[in-house]
Assembly symmetry: D2
Homo-oligomer: 357 residues x 4
C-alpha cells in the first residue's frame, strides 16, 4: 500500500493534468493499493493540510484539459520560512502534515521556484519525485518541459494573426512573448511565425541594429516587419548595468514592458507606426497540444514507476530523446538558457533573422 501526496505549484501551464493522469494511471495499474492525497493550490495545501482524496475517476477525461484540477499558487521561496497560521515555520508545517498523513512520497509538479522548495523538502527527509512543468523551458537537467510546445503554439497563433494585419497595413508589429528570463519560447514562436527580428534576454539588442533591419526590409520591398520580443529581452546598455543600477533604472521605467520601450524607440527614431500585441496569460492556457500530451503522459508514467520502485529524490527529465531521472540537488537553483552560439540561433541567422546583436 502506497500513500501518495500530489501538488502543482507556480504559474499553471498546459498538460499539468495530463502529467498527473500519467502518474495516477501508472500507480492504479500496478498491483499495489494506492491512496492519492491531492493538496490544493500548491504548497499552500500542504502547509495548511488542505487536500482531497482522489480516485481514478478524477483523472478520467482530463488528458486534454488545460489548467490543473488541484489548483496552483505561487509560494515565493523567501516566505517559505515564514511562520504559518499555527505559528509554525512553513517547512516544518509541511513536514508535520506529510508525517501525520503517513505519506510515502510527494509528487510535485512545477518550475524553477517549485524545484527549489522540492529540494528543500528532500533535504528535510521527505520522499519527493518531481515533474518539469513550465512554458519557459528553463529548467536545468531536462531538454524539454511540458507546457512549452503548447505555449509556442499559442504565441505562434498570435504572430500568424498579426502577420495578415501587418501585411495589410504596412506596419511594424511587435508581439511580446512570455518566457520569464529566458528566450526559448520567443525564439521558437518567432521562427515558427516567420518573425523578421527576434529579441531574447540571452542576446542583448542594439536598437540601431533593429532599425537597420527594418529599413533594409523596406528597401527590399517589404511593407512590414514583425518583431518577436521576449518579455525578458534587454538592451545592450541595460545589460551592462550593475544589479543595483538596473533596479534603480527599473524604478523609473516609463514602459509597461520592454516591448513598449522598443516600440517607442523605433517610432521616435524612424517615425514609423509601431503596434504592440501582448498575448499574455493566453500562452499558459487552453488544451495541451498533442506533443505535450504525449510528453507529459510519458513523464508521468516514469514518475509512477519511480514511486513503485521506491526511488525518490529525482526529477523525471528528458535527455537525448530518452526519459531520465535527475537528482533534485542538480536541478534546484539553476537556470537553463538559450546558448547564443547554439545551432538553432545560427540557423535562425542563416535564415536572415536579426537578433539585434
Amino acid at each position: 500500500m502506497k500513500r501518495i501526496g500530489m501538488l502543482t505549484s507556480g504559474g499553471d501551464c498546459q498538460a499539468l493534468n495530463a502529467a498527473m493522469r500519467g502518474v495516477v494511471k501508472t500507480l492504479l495499474n500496478s498491483r499495489q493499493k494506492v491512496e492519492i492525497y491531492g493538496f490544493l493550490d500548491g504548497y499552500r495545501g500542504l502547509i495548511y493540510n488542505n487536500y482531497r482524496m482522489l480516485s481514478g475517476s478524477d483523472f478520467s477525461g482530463i488528458l486534454t484539459k488545460g489548467g490543473t484540477i488541484l489548483g496552483s499558487s505561487r509560494t515565493p521561496f523567501k516566505t517559505i520560512k515564514d511562520p504559518d497560521a499555527n505559528g509554525l515555520d512553513k517547512v516544518e508545517a509541511m513536514k508535520q502534515n506529510y508525517r501525520k498523513l503517513k505519506l510515502d512520497c510527494l509528487v510535485i509538479l512545477g518550475g524553477n521556484g517549485t524545484h527549489k522548495t522540492a529540494n528543500l523538502l528532500r533535504e528535510e527527509g521527505l520522499n519527493v519525485v518531481t515533474l518539469p512543468k513550465t512554458i519557459d523551458n528553463d529548467l536545468w537537467g531536462t531538454d524539454m518541459t511540458f507546457g512549452f510546445q503548447s505555449a509556442v503554439n499559442v504565441a505562434t497563433d498570435a504572430i500568424d494573426c498579426i502577420h495578415t494585419t501587418a501585411a495589410s497595413h504596412g506596419r511594424v508589429f511587435i508581439v511580446e512573448v512570455m518566457g520569464h528570463k529566458v528566450g526559448f519560447l520567443t525564439l521558437n514562436a518567432g521562427m515558427a511565425g516567420g518573425a523578421d527580428i527576434i529579441l531574447i534576454p540571452e542576446i542583448p539588442y542594439d536598437i540601431n541594429k533593429v532599425i537597420k533591419k527594418i529599413e533594409e526590409r523596406e528597401k527590399n520591398g517589404s511593407r512590414f516587419t514583425i518583431i518577436a520580443v521576449a518579455e525578458g529581452a534587454i538592451s545592450k546598455e541595460n545589460a551592462k548595468l550593475s544589479k543595483k543600477e538596473f533596479k534603480k533604472m527599473m524604478e523609473k521605467y516609463p514602459y509597461p514592458s520592454v516591448s513598449y520601450e522598443v516600440a517607442a524607440q523605433i517610432q521616435e527614431k524612424t517615425g514609423r507606426e509601431v503596434r504592440v500585441t501582448v498575448p499574455g496569460h493566453t500562452q499558459r492556457g487552453g488544451s495541451p497540444c498533442p506533443y505535450d500530451r504525449v510528453f507529459a503522459s510519458r513523464l508521468g508514467a516514469e514518475a509512477g514507476k519511480l514511486i513503485l520502485d521506491g526511488e525518490y529524490g529525482f526529477m523525471v527529465g528528458y535527455k537525448n530523446r530518452e526519459i531520465v531521472k535527475v537528482p533534485l540537488e542538480e536541478v534546484a537553483g539553476k537556470l537553463k538558457m538559450v546558448d547564443p552560439d547554439s545551432t538553432i540561433v545560427k540557423e535562425a541567422k542563416l535564415l536572415g533573422i536579426c537578433f539585434g546583436d
Copy 2:
C-alpha cells in the same frame, strides 16, 4: 466591357479577400469582358492613382487568407478634403483618377468611416457599390458584417485559454475585447467564452455591481471570475459626462484602457488579484472562419451581380437571412449598436451574466 476599380479601406479584417474573390469570380464568369483596377492601400491608392491590374489568378487561393491583397489604410474623413500632393482637393483627385481610367464603377470594402467617404463619392457622381467589412458589426443597414464572426472566434479562443488559467489560480481575469464604440463583439465572445460579467458601451456599468457579482460567485464556491470588457465600455459616472467634460477627463486618464480602470477598482476595493489580457490586433487577423468565408463570398457575388446589372449606389447587406441592397445614403454616418432591451441581452441575463447595470 466593364472597367472596375476596387479598394479596401480602414482597419483590415478577415474575409476581405474572400469578398473580393466573390466579386471578381462573378464578373469573370459573366459573358462580359472585365478589367479590374486594384487601388493600393485604400482611398490613398485612388487619390494618388496607385493601382495594379488584377486578373483571375490574383484571386485564386485567397478565399482562406486573412488580410487584404490590396493593402489598406485609414484615411480619416476629416482630411479627405485636404489637398493631395498635386494641390488638388482629395475628393477631386479621386474623381479625376476615376474619370481618367474611364471606370464604370468602384467596389469599396470598408466600415463606417469608409462608407461616409463612399457616399461622398456617390454624391459627386461616381458609381459605387460597397461591401460591409468590420469586426465591430456596427454598420447600419445590415444585420451582419464579415469579419465579425472570425473576430468572435479569436476573442473566444483567448477567453477559453484564460479560463483554464483563471480556474487554476482562483483569480479575477479581465479580457479586453475590440469593437470600437459598440458591444456586439464583446457580447458574443463573452457569452461564447462563458464570461460571468460582460461590460459593453451600450450598458454603462456600476463598479459596485461588478464587485457584488464577484463576491456572490465566491460565496457560491466559484474560485474565479471572468470579465469580458469591451474596449469602449464606460462607467455610469463617465457616461453622464458632457462631451467636453469627457474629453477633459480623458486627458488625465491614468489607464492604458478601460479594462485597467476596472481592474484597478476591483483590486482597490476588494484586495483581489486581477489580471488583464488584451488580445488586441490578433482579433483582426488569421484565416476567416467558414461562416465569414461563405457570407463574404455571397455578398461579393451579389455585388458582382449589381455591377453586371448596372445598379449603383448601394451597399450589399444582409437582412432577415436574405442578401439585400441598401442605398448608401441610408448607411453613411449611422452607427448600429447593441439594444440593451434586445432578446440576446435578456437571454444573457437569464443565464446569470452580469452587465453591471
Copy 3:
C-alpha cells in the same frame, strides 16, 4: 417548485451541453425551487426510468464540451410502440415514469426523429419543450439548429487540408460531407472550403456535367478539382426511380457510399486519379464553435423561460434573427431542405460552382 426531466436523443452533436446548461442556469437563477431529472441515453432512460438527479455543478464548465453529459441513443420511431422490458408499450412506459416522478415538464433535445416522438408524448398529454439539435439543419420551423455551424467548421477543415494535398498532386479529390438527406452542411462547407463542384440531394447531378467541369478547369490551367459530395447526393437517373426501384437498386449497390460511385464514374470515364475522403463522425464531435455556444445558450435560456412561464408544447426555434416558439405539431414529421432556387444556391453558381445540374 418545478420538477423537470431532461433528455438528449438521436445522433449527438456539438453544443448539446451548452443548450442544457442554458436551460438549467435559467431555471436555477429564477426564484423557484427546481429539481432536474437527467434521463440517460435518450428516450431509453425515460422508458426504463434510468435517471440521475442533476445540480448546478453538473453544468459548470460544460459550455465548451462536445457530446452530451446525459448520453444519447437512437430509438427508432417504429419501435417506440413495441413493448418495453415490463411488457408495457414504450410510450405507456414513458407516461407512467413521467407521472411517477410527478414531472412538470420534459425538456427534449433532438432532431427530426426525436421531434416525432416528442410530439407523440405531447399528444399523450405530457408537457414538453424541445430544442432543435442537429448538424444537418433539416428541422422544420427554425432557420438554424445548433451543431450545424460546428459541423460546417469540421467539414471545412477537412476540405482545407485536402486542398493543399490536391494542389500538390494535381488530383481530383472528393470530400464526403454528412447531412443525412439534405444538403445544407455540404453546401456551406463546400462554399467555405472553395469546392469547385458541390453535389447535394436537392439537386440531382448528371455525372457528365461534373466531368465537363473538371475538364474545363484543366483547360483553364487548374491542376486539381475539389468536389464536396453530400452523403445523400443522388444522380439524376437514381432520382427518377420509384421508391421500390430505388430500394432494389440499393440492395446491389456496389459502393460504400455515393462518393465512391462518383469517384468510380470519373475514373472510368476520364482515367483521372480520384481520391475520396470521409471525415465521418468527426463532424459531430469536438468543442462547439463560438457561434453554436451562443446560439445554444440563447435557445436554452428561452426554453427555461417557457418552463418558468408554464408554456408547453413548443420547440424553441430561430426565425429572422429572433428566437421564437414553434408549436410541436408544426415541426414533427417535416423536413427542411435546400431550395434549389434559393439565393445562396444562385450565389454559389455566380461564383462558378457547379452543382451537376
Copy 4:
C-alpha cells in the same frame, strides 16, 4: 555563382514549403549569386526538364502553407529505369538535364522511395543534398522527419472529435491512422488522443486481447472504447504468413482496410456496435504546426549551408537534438520502425494502453 535544382517527390506533407524556404533564404542571404531551378511534380520535372526559375519572392509567405509550390508525384523506383518520352533511360534523362542546365547541386525533399532514387543519382555522379520529408517518420538516419508532428496533430484532432461522440453513445470507435508500414504516427496520436487500444504494425495483435480489453473497460464502468489502428497494423496470424501466402490472402481480402477487419471481428464476437473513421489524406494537409515549421526551417538552413560549403551526398537529419549530415548511402533502402521494447511503448503500457499483444 551557384545553380541549384530543387524538387519535392512522393506523397506531400506539411512544411515542405517551409523547408524549401529555409534552403533558399540561406542561399540568398549568402554573398554568392544563386540561381534556383524548381523542377515540377517531383522527379518527373527533372526527367522531362520541366522547371521554372524561382526567386526570393516565390518563397515569401509560404512558411505557413501546406503542400508544395513545386508539386509532387510518386515516381515508383521500379519504373525509374524505364525509358522516358525520348526513349532514354529515366536516370539517363535526369543526368542529361542536370548537365544541360549546368547545375551545381540538386536539393531533393522526400521520403523513403525518394531517397532510394536520390542515392542512385548520387552514385551516378550528381551532387545531391536531401531533406527528410514524411508524415510516417520512418526514415533511417534521423530521429524526426518534418510533417510528422503536423500529421500527429490532425490525427489527434480526429480522435478528440470522436471521443465526445463515442462517450455520448457508448460505442466502440476505431480511428484509422496513416503511417504506411510503421506505427509512429498511430502511437503518438493514440497516446495524445487518449486511445485505450493502439494497434501498430510492429506489434502484431491478437483480436482476443483487444476484445478482452474492451470488456474489462466495460466492467470498470467505461461506456466506450477508442481504438487507434495504424493503416499497416497486422494480426498475429497474418504476421506469420510468408510473403507469398500474405499476397494470396490479400487478393481475397474482403475489407477496405485493416480497421474494418478489426471492427468486423469485434462486432461478430461481441455484438457491440463498432464505428470506423478514416481521416485519410487530411493527415497530409493543412498548415504545418509550429514544431514542424521551426524544424523544417532549421533543416533547410543547414542544407543551404552544406551547399554553400560544397558538401554533397548527404541527407540533413536530426540526432539527439542536433542537426546532423547523414551519408545518403546509409539512408537509402532502410526503414526506421517502432521498437516494441522502446521506452515509449513501455510507458504507454504503464498507462494501461493495450497493444493487443
